[in-house]
């Protein structure tokens, strides 16, 4: 299954915390409904992507489903045009591993 970030945001800029939450909800709905189906999170036509966005989307997925499930079933794709995407993605992943700080973030995000 493919989920288009651009279609969800209707913009080429995935910058805001609220953008990330929108994408998180779309992926979560799909994942909960379809179980173990592979999900491709498609960044086609996305020009910019912030760490804030990745924390709110993939970071929350990691907190919700755990590292193993996200690694196995949910994959970003078509992000070659986005500057430093993998660097930021790794940063987001590190934030998750650094659980003490991440928990504070998550509590705030869902407050």
């Amino acid at each position: 299954m493919k989920i288009s970030v651009h279609d969800i945001l209707n913009s080429g800029n995935a910058s805001l915390h609220a953008d990330g939450i929108q994408v998180f909800n779309a992926i979560k709905n799909s994942f909960d409904a379809n179980g173990s189906e592979q999900i491709e999170v498609d960044f086609t036509n996305i020009k910019r992507c912030s760490t804030l966005f990745l924390n709110a989307s993939f970071g929350n997925l990691l907190a919700e489903y755990g590292e193993e499930s996200v690694k196995k079933y949910i994959h970003p794709s078509s992000y070659a045009e986005i500057l430093n995407f993998m660097y930021k993605f790794q940063d987001m992943w590190d934030n998750f591993i650094n659980k003490d700080n991440y928990q504070a973030y998550r509590e705030e995000a869902f407050a």
């Binding site: 430093n84 940063d91 650094n98 504070a104």
Partner: protein, 300 residues
């Protein structure tokens, strides 16, 4: 304690002087604008006539800061503002040139290539903000000819700063931008002012033992500590500061009761670059000073 405000008929005008001298992009200039703001705050439901009698000069980019405070006064105190067009024209016509004040005639007379227009964006207007960065800031004729990669990295860092305004400023009020080229100084200033809660509240909540004042919170954010801890500044602030320092530019930050300037770090008077604003400014202002003679294309 109840603070009484002086109420007027909206048709009445109260004259308040904008500043006492030259209003530059430094602690002294910021203090003058905050003093003007505090004086206006004593009034509500009337029109403030901004007087320039004592003002010799105002840096055009500071319209972002002035505009933000004027906006807050208009919302929170129901104030209207007026200025004498002849006085503006004679003393500070930059206020016409950068769209801070509307022009109804002789538009071409005031337009100048040295200005980046004054604009306000609500936090969710991301596409409009990026358009401004691409079409007004980085396309400005005075901007150094940056490689596309460097430009994109700078926009990316500004994007992180912008995202943090939306996330951490705790406000729905707009933020304001403005810029100015100073050919004699080989500098282009770009200022962003928001009306949020500033740096201290969020950073102090994360590090109450380490961060005890607004100055501490600026230093903590500029050092890049907020990168991993989801706090104001994010990685963008640190990266922008590193880029500007590496390329003979500078950065200033004003929030709460503190100001910080990268140029004064390690100086005798302000070894950590922090100085007092003597008053409290609820919000944060970031000024980026690009060196327009810089031919260094190093990456961010």
């Amino acid at each position: 304690m109840l603070v009484s405000k002086t109420k007027f008929d909206l048709n009445e005008e109260v004259k308040i002087y904008l500043g006492q001298d030259n209003i530059y992009t430094d602690v002294s200039g910021i203090r003058q604008i905050i003093a003007f703001y505090n004086e206006c705050k004593a009034y509500s439901d009337c029109t403030i006539n901004i007087k320039l009698d004592n003002t010799q000069w105002i840096d055009g980019n500071l319209c972002a800061f002035l505009g933000a405070l004027v906006y807050r006064l208009s919302i929170e105190h129901n104030l209207k503002f007026s200025m004498d067009a002849k006085q503006v024209s004679a003393k500070c016509n930059i206020l016409f040139a950068n769209d801070f004040l509307p022009i109804t005639q002789n538009e071409n007379y005031y337009r100048t290539k040295s200005c980046l227009p004054f604009r306000g964006f609500f936090p969710k207007q991301k596409d409009e903000f990026y358009n401004y960065l691409e079409n007004d800031l980085f396309a400005h004729s005075a901007m150094p000819k940056l490689s596309l990669e460097v430009q994109e990295q700078l926009i990316d860092n500004l994007s992180e700063v912008y995202g943090n305004i939306d996330k951490h400023a705790e406000t729905e009020l707009p933020f304001f931008v403005c810029g100015q080229h100073y050919p004699s100084k080989n500098a282009l200033h770009f200022t962003i002012s928001d009306l949020g809660v500033g740096f201290f509240k969020k950073i102090n909540a994360q590090k109450p033992l380490e961060i005890k004042c607004c100055g501490d919170s600026i230093l903590w954010a500029v050092a890049g500590n907020s990168t991993k801890q989801d706090a104001p500044g994010g990685s963008g602030l640190r990266n922008l500061n590193n880029y500007l320092q590496d390329n003979n530019g500078a950065m200033q930050i004003y929030t709460g009761d503190a100001g910080w300037c990268s140029k004064t770090v390690n100086s005798v008077l302000y070894p950590d670059g922090v100085s007092s604003l003597r008053n409290n400014y609820l919000g944060s202002t970031i000024n980026l000073e690009f060196n327009t003679k810089n031919l260094n294309f190093r990456s961010v």
